[in-house]
Structures are given as C-alpha cells and as structure tokens.
C-alpha cells in the first residue's frame, strides 16, 4: 500500500515523509497511533510482490526488494570493508600514476565499481555504515571511495541503469584526480582558504579533465566531471551553471562530495558529526545549492540519525546508532554503552528502537551527543569504529 497523504501535521507524526510505501505491520500500528483519521492511498504506486526487483521509484520509499537481502549486515560489512580497502589501494596507485603523467583507464577501476554495486544490492547498510565509520584517513583515496559508494547508492535508488551506475562510479572515483597536481595540505582542513588558495583549488577540475581526456571514458563522464563543482543555484564553478543545465550525475556526486567533506573535514571545512553534516546539506538545499529532491532522498537513506551518531536516550542511557531504519527514521538500531549514571556497561546491548512491543520501558532518542564537549563519553566508547 502506498500512502499519498495523511490528515495530520507532519510534525505530529514519526514519519519523515507523508508519502511512503507501507511494508509491515509496525508502520500500520504507527499510522493508527499518530492521530491520522484520513489516509490517502495512491493505488498506482502500490507495489506488487512480483515487481520486487524493480528499482524504487524516485521519491518513494525503498522498494520491497530491500526486504529480500541475501546477506546479513555483519557478513556484508566484512565484504564491504575488503572492497573499500582494495578500492583505496587502486586509487592510491592511480593518483600516484597521475603524478607521473600516467593516464587512468576504465578497466583499472571498473571491477571495484561493480563490486560496490553488488554489495549495495546485497545489503546497502554495510556501505552506509562504512561511510560513517569514525577515524577515517583524510586522504583523497578515502574520499574517492566514499563519494563513489554513496553516489552509487543514490543512483540505485533513483533507478539508474547498470551502465549509468558504472558511469557515475567513474565520475566519483576520478573527478578529483587533478588534486594530485595541487599541494596535499589544501585537501585536508586546516583553515579557511585564502582567495589565492581557493583559486588554486578550483583548478583541480581542469587538471582532472586533462588527465581524463587522454583516457577511454565517454563524453558523458567528461561532462559530469567538468560540472562536479557546479551548484544547483548557479553559485558553483567553473561555469556557474544552474538547475537542469548541470548533468544529473554531477548533481548527485557534488552533493555526496559536499556531505563527505562536511563530515570528514576535507577542503576548508571543520569536520562535524554526521547528523550536523546532514543538517548543513539540508540547509544548503533550502538555499538551492543542491537539488532538494536529492537531498531528501539522501536524508531518507542515511536516516535522521546516521550510523555512528552518538545519542542520548530518554532513559539517560548513551549509545551509538548502528543501523538506519528506513521505515521509522527516528527509531534506528542503537548500541548502548553507558547506563543512565554514565557508567560503562560490561556488555553493550543493541536495541532496535522500532521493535519494543511489550517492553516495560520504551526507549527513544532524546538528543544527539556532541562528543567535542567534555564529559560526554568518559570511557571513549562512543567514538570507536
């Protein structure tokens, strides 16, 4: 069943959107309890089980096929970590090769893109968790994997063909290869750029194109790389394009590029916790720096409390978000490390905030914990991998 609207304020319901696919009883119970008396159903968008392999329609909830994951999160996480490590290695090789004047070719990276696409198809939570894992090296090769993997996730949810997913993978991995001609210190946050530094940074787009043009990539990839710093409202560079003038793939990778930069501290940005990074992207989308529908999709995919967010529960317990719940964004899985007296638990417990029927105390997230403040995490348990 596809809900097209509810007769109750958005603020009074736990749903991120009032247009959504109903996939289980929990959502029905939540619907009953949220105060809505009239529910509008869009019968054309209702999903048949036989359509389970169809990609999710733009603007709808993740498809029913999300339920048919063939791999558990823990198993897929191991695989995804291996994919990330080997992709980082090949990117180091390519960046080093580019410094020596070597030319990147599609066959050098295509296997890694396909492996990432497959991992996302088996269980996309693994890649999402890797994106938000703490203590990542602030290196170009790490950023390349993060942008590639999350851009692929967005592209899959938008129903991109396998060929176009490959293309967006090439764009994300290689768009910053021109950075190898610039001082590395500019890539990692130290302070706001001076005007001269910013002028220099802008040149990485041209440097990337010079290298890519010698390779075997199709014109669409060139175009998308050329436009990956354009902004939806025309405030980007190098051409100041806006809206539909910007290649759709560029719109996706620029949003993820910005998001990874905000959460991991690339460019001239101080690193911020994932939820704050998401808020920044959301604010930027209101100013139309990024396409609003894409930002909405990203928020829905990574949750209001993305994995690795340190959270305070209504019980006074403290923990870390381990898994997004697409059907109930305010109720992710949380691993609890501290009791209400801020004492570390001998054995951390993982609770699914969406599945607490029959529990004496129903846990809810009260707020995010800012780990930069003192005494928030005395045993250093909320900041681990």
């Amino acid at each position: 069943m596809f809900v097209a609207g509810l007769n109750v304020s958005w603020l009074k319901t736990p749903f991120f959107k009032h247009t959504m696919l109903i996939e289980d009883e929990l959502q029905i119970v939540t619907l009953k309890n949220c105060g809505a008396t009239v529910i509008t159903i869009d019968t054309e968008k209702c999903v048949q089980i036989s359509n389970q392999d169809q990609p999710a329609e733009k603007g709808t909830a993740p498809s029913v096929s999300e339920k048919l994951k063939t791999t558990s999160l823990s198993k897929e996480l191991d695989t995804a970590k291996q994919i990330k490590e080997s992709t980082k290695k090949i990117m180091r090789v390519l960046f080093s090769m580019a410094q020596d004047g070597g030319v990147p070719k599609a066959e050098m990276v295509s296997s890694f893109i396909v492996q990432t696409m497959d991992s996302l198809s088996r269980n996309s939570q693994a890649i999402i968790n890797l994106f938000f894992s703490k203590n990542q090296p602030t290196k170009l090769y790490n950023h390349a994997f993060n942008v590639m993997s999350m851009s692929l996730l967005v592209a899959q949810k938008l129903g991109y063909s396998k060929e176009d997913q490959q293309r967006i993978g090439f764009v994300a991995l290689l768009m910053d290869i021109g950075w190898t001609n610039l001082p590395e210190k500019l890539f990692v946050f130290q302070s706001a750029y001076t005007d001269d530094e910013y002028d220099l940074v802008k040149k990485h787009v041209d440097y990337s194109l010079l290298l890519i043009e010698k390779g075997d990539f199709d014109p669409e990839i060139h175009q998308a790389i050329a436009q990956h710093h354009e902004r939806y409202n025309g405030s980007g560079y190098p051409a100041g394009l806006s809206g539909e003038q910007i290649h759709p793939m560029s719109r996706i990778v620029s949003m993820i590029d910005h998001f990874d930069g905000a959460t991991n501290g690339y460019y001239d940005r101080m690193p911020m916790i994932p939820a704050r990074g998401l808020q920044e992207i959301y604010r930027k989308s209101i100013l139309l720096s990024h396409e609003p529908s894409l930002v909405e999709l990203l928020v829905r995919l990574v949750g209001i409390f993305p994995p690795s967010s340190a959270v305070l529960l209504n019980t006074g317990e403290r923990g870390v978000v381990t898994q997004v719940n697409w059907r109930a964004p305010l109720a992710p899985k949380v691993k609890i490390f501290y009791n209400k007296k801020l004492m570390p638990l001998l054995r951390p417990i993982e609770v699914d905030l969406a599945k607490q029927e029959g529990e004496e105390t129903v846990r809810e997230i009260k707020s995010l914990i800012d780990l930069t403040l003192p005494k928030q995490d005395p045993a250093g348990l909320l900041n681990g991998e």
Binding site: K89, D100, G102
Partner: protein
Amino acid sequence: MQITIHESDQKATLKLEDYFDIKTRHLFKDSCERIFSHSEVKSIDIDFSDVNYIDSAALGMLLILREKSELAHVALSLVNCDKILHVLKGVFFHNLFTLR
C-alpha cells in the same frame, strides 16, 4: 634497490631486487627508457623473484609501463610474482597484466 637488465634477441628482462617503491622511480624509468630505445624489443619481462616489497607508487609505474608497451606493441609480463602476488591481486592487476 638494483635493477639488472638482460637483453637477448627481441626480449628484455628487468630483474628487480628487494624494495620496489617510490625511491626507485628514476632508476626504473631510466631502465625502461633504455629498453624502449632499442626498437627491436618485442617483449619485456619484469622479474619480481627477489622483490620483497612493492608500494602504490611502484604499481603506478607498472601501469605507465603497460601503457607505453601497448603503444609500442611490446608484450609485457610480470614474472615470478609469488612474494607480491597478494598485492597485485588486491588491485586486480591479474586482469590488467600477464602474470607468469
């Protein structure tokens, strides 16, 4: 690091030793240029039997050599790679190079 070059007929072999890394860049580049200056060379073997370590810069050098070899229609092979095979396979070089 040392590089020994053996040339016979139309075949050249570069035998590398110990560490193949960024510090070897100029030596490796010069050795390759020396081989390519002999227009009769039709195949090049890079012998890794005595190589104990290879870094990403060295892997990048191999990719550049691969590109040059293709342009010059020279067959390139990486031979005796046992000690570094896991590194080569980790970046899918077995799909890009002939390994013997």
